[in-house]
């Protein structure tokens, strides 16, 4: 009997061609079995510690905070091996791949962070990896394409549709439908069909669990708000998971507002709140009135996705978490502020969360402690920033 319902309220489910159902059932069984298996936990724990570099530090960004009343703490997932939180759950899914007797990994990637983590772990475990990436994203994230290739992964550019993450997911699903016998689809975020939203959350939960203990050690209490950026939503759900039952902690997800939610050029499906079905799940989805999926837009390739993980849709609808848009230019300001004040170059994804924290801190009139998940480092985004500055 399964531990997890495929649904979060009305969101979630298993909307895939029938042929993929047995592969998802197999994955569900392997996942739930692994959660109760001490040898799996020991093996994953050792890899997280010695390969990935956990625990990551919690750092108080005293120079960043624009208001002495507000303390801002950063959970430093950018210091993880690979440069982003993605390594956490990729290690876990790679172990599951082995447990299912498979030796090939199919993955999709937007900014390349998930692709890099997948390539890295596949190399380390001696597995083959095929990574689908939108042609437009290959262009904006060339260093990551090169990293993946260095580590032996096959990178397949996807030209269909908008040439971004959404289309890479479509191609990965097609590959999986043909090759499920030998290949695992190592989905990169807390979205997709059941069991992926649960699976990715459980293996990213470590972010919030560590941060919680570290906050108590640092200030003797929990933060007033936990803040993370949301594309598909894996770093955010990882941060939130252990705080959901802590009703005094506000949960804030930051969606990419792109050029402004009023312009239509954004990637903020929760803000739009239109329910739909894509990539195996019922969730919030950017779409026209006929149900054709719209292209999302964000300066951050990693957030450029027209849907969102179903648990976020549920947390938004029930009011447990708030979701706010941050525009491209605000994110860039957040990016620069952290570089200058703390000597940390954040991913543009994480800069959305930082920008919200800065905005909130500037407006604060009472003492407040903010916990921001610094989900990844920004080296991969230097091309984007240099182009904006006219340096490339």
């Amino acid at each position: 009997m399964s531990h997890f319902s495929p649904y979060f309220g009305e969101f979630g489910g298993t909307f895939v061609p029938e042929i993929l159902v047995p592969a998802l059932d197999q994955l569900t069984a392997a996942f739930e079995n692994a959660l109760e298996d001490d040898s799996f936990k020991a093996e994953l724990g050792a890899l997280l510690k010695h390969y990935a570099g956990r625990p990551t530090p919690l750092y108080e960004a005293t120079h960043l905070s624009p208001n002495p009343l507000v303390r801002i703490f950063l959970k430093r997932e950018d210091l993880l091996h690979g440069g982003a939180h993605k390594t956490n759950q990729v290690l876990a899914q790679a172990l599951l791949t082995k447990r299912m007797g498979k030796n090939e990994i199919i993955a999709e990637t937007g900014a390349g962070q998930h692709g890099v983590a997948t390539a890295m772990v596949a190399a380390m475990m001696g597995m083959k990896a095929r990574i689908y990436m939108g042609a437009k994203d290959c262009e904006r994230q060339q260093p990551n394409v090169y990293r993946m290739k260095l580590m032996g992964a096959e990178v397949i550019p996807v030209h269909a549709g908008s040439g971004t993450l959404k289309d890479a997911v479509n191609e990965a699903l097609r590959d999986w439908a043909a090759n499920y016998d030998t290949a695992h689809y190592l989905l990169g975020t807390a979205a997709g069909p059941h069991p992926f939203p649960h699976l990715v959350r459980e293996f990213q939960r470590i972010i919030g669990a560590e941060a919680k203990a570290q906050m108590i050690e640092a200030i003797g209490r929990l933060p007033d708000a936990a803040i993370a950026c949301v594309g598909g939503g894996s770093n955010a759900i990882g941060l939130f998971a252990d705080f959901i039952d802590e009703k005094d902690v506000e949960l804030i997800g930051v969606e990419p507002g792109g050029e402004g939610v009023e312009t239509g050029k954004h990637g903020a499906p929760i803000y739009m709140a239109k329910e739909g079905i894509l990539h195996g799940m019922k969730s919030y989805l950017m779409q026209d009135e006929d149900g054709q999926v719209e292209e999302s837009h964000s300066i951050s390739a990693g957030l450029d996705y027209p849907a969102v993980g179903p648990q976020h849709a549920y947390l938004a609808k029930t009011g447990r978490a708030q979701y706010v848009p941050i525009n491209d230019d605000e994110a860039i300001e957040g990016f620069k502020a952290l570089c200058r004040s703390e000597g940390i170059i954040p991913a543009i994804e994480s800069s959305h969360a930082l920008a919200y924290a800065l905005k909130r801190a500037k407006a604060a009139s009472k003492e407040e402690v903010l916990l921001v998940n610094l989900s990844g480092r920004g080296d991969k985004d230097l091309n984007t920033i240099m182009k904006l500055e006219g340096l490339l």
Binding site: T14, P17, E18, N179, G276, L278, K282, E289, G291
Partner: protein
């Protein structure tokens, strides 16, 4: 009696199988699409399977995906696609027409409303490519309420329990998928799946029709020899249509000839 039932009975009496070609509605535009569909009917198609173009057709391979993009680019909406079906059914009221669509198009219209609209357009069956048995309840319920046949897919890797559910829920016909993967002729159809056909029949399913990778008359013969009641050909039909109405007519006629 539904059009599918009378079709399959008629064919059985003649010891023939059904040839069911697929095209995407509105590819490359609505008027050309209408002419192409008429060409199929005039050249032996026993029933039609018609795709409603969706922006993210994950169950389809490159040929049908390209057809979908052409249809969308020429402004085909689900409403216009249904109007095209209506036009076709007004001309050929006896030919069974199945829709192939994706969950979000049904959901966006409102599940119940979608099936009512389909019925009003003359649609006989609806297959939703990304709705497996475990999510099918509201879709099947709405289909039955609107008197549209819900068609379910039987894949080659299905468990006995899935096949039983497919047999119980699917009306009109059962879509047997010949192999793993997405639609297309890039990968040939797999070997006929005798044990799956037997299981479906044991559970008294609607007639079983084989699809995925069916491009040659020989494959139609093989499907019928294995116990299928017919064969669906999608990507090959789309490719023939790309070459023009004469090529599509010749393709349809040769595939139908193989079903006799």
């Amino acid at each position: 009696m539904s059009l599918y039932q009378s079709l399959f009975e008629r064919l059985r009496a003649k010891k023939e199988g059904a040839f069911i070609p697929f095209l995407t509605l509105g590819d490359p535009d609505l008027d050309t699409s209408f002419e192409l569909l008429c060409t199929l009917v005039e050249n032996g198609a026993d029933a039609l399977e018609l795709g409603v173009p969706f922006s993210d057709p994950v169950a389809d391979g490159p040929t049908i995906q390209a057809a979908t993009l052409r249809a969308l680019a020429s402004g085909t909406t689900p409403k216009k696609a249904l109007a095209l079906v209506r036009r076709l059914k007004d001309k050929y009221p006896e030919i069974p027409v199945g829709l192939l669509t994706y969950a979000n198009l049904v959901f966006a219209a409102g599940i119940d409303q979608f099936y009512l609209d389909a019925k009003a357009a003359g649609v006989d069956s609806v297959l939703v490519a990304d709705v497996p048995i475990k999510e099918s309840a509201p879709f099947v319920k709405a289909a039955k309420a609107a008197k549209v046949a819900p068609v379910m897919i039987a894949p080659p890797n299905a468990s006995e329990a899935t096949l039983k559910a497919v047999a119980q829920l699917s009306e009109g016909y059962v879509y047997l998928v010949s192999r793993a993967g997405v639609t297309g002729t890039e990968t040939a159809a797999g070997k006929p799946l005798g044990h799956i056909i037997d299981t479906l029949k044991r559970y008294q399913s609607a007639p079983v029709v084989l699809g995925f990778g069916i491009a040659e008359p020989e494959q139609v013969k093989a499907a019928l020899a294995a116990g299928c009641a017919g064969a669906i050909s999608g990507s090959a039909a789309v490719k023939a249509a790309e070459q023009g109405p004469e090529q599509l007519a010749a393709f349809s006629a040769s595939m139908k000839a193989a079903s006799r």
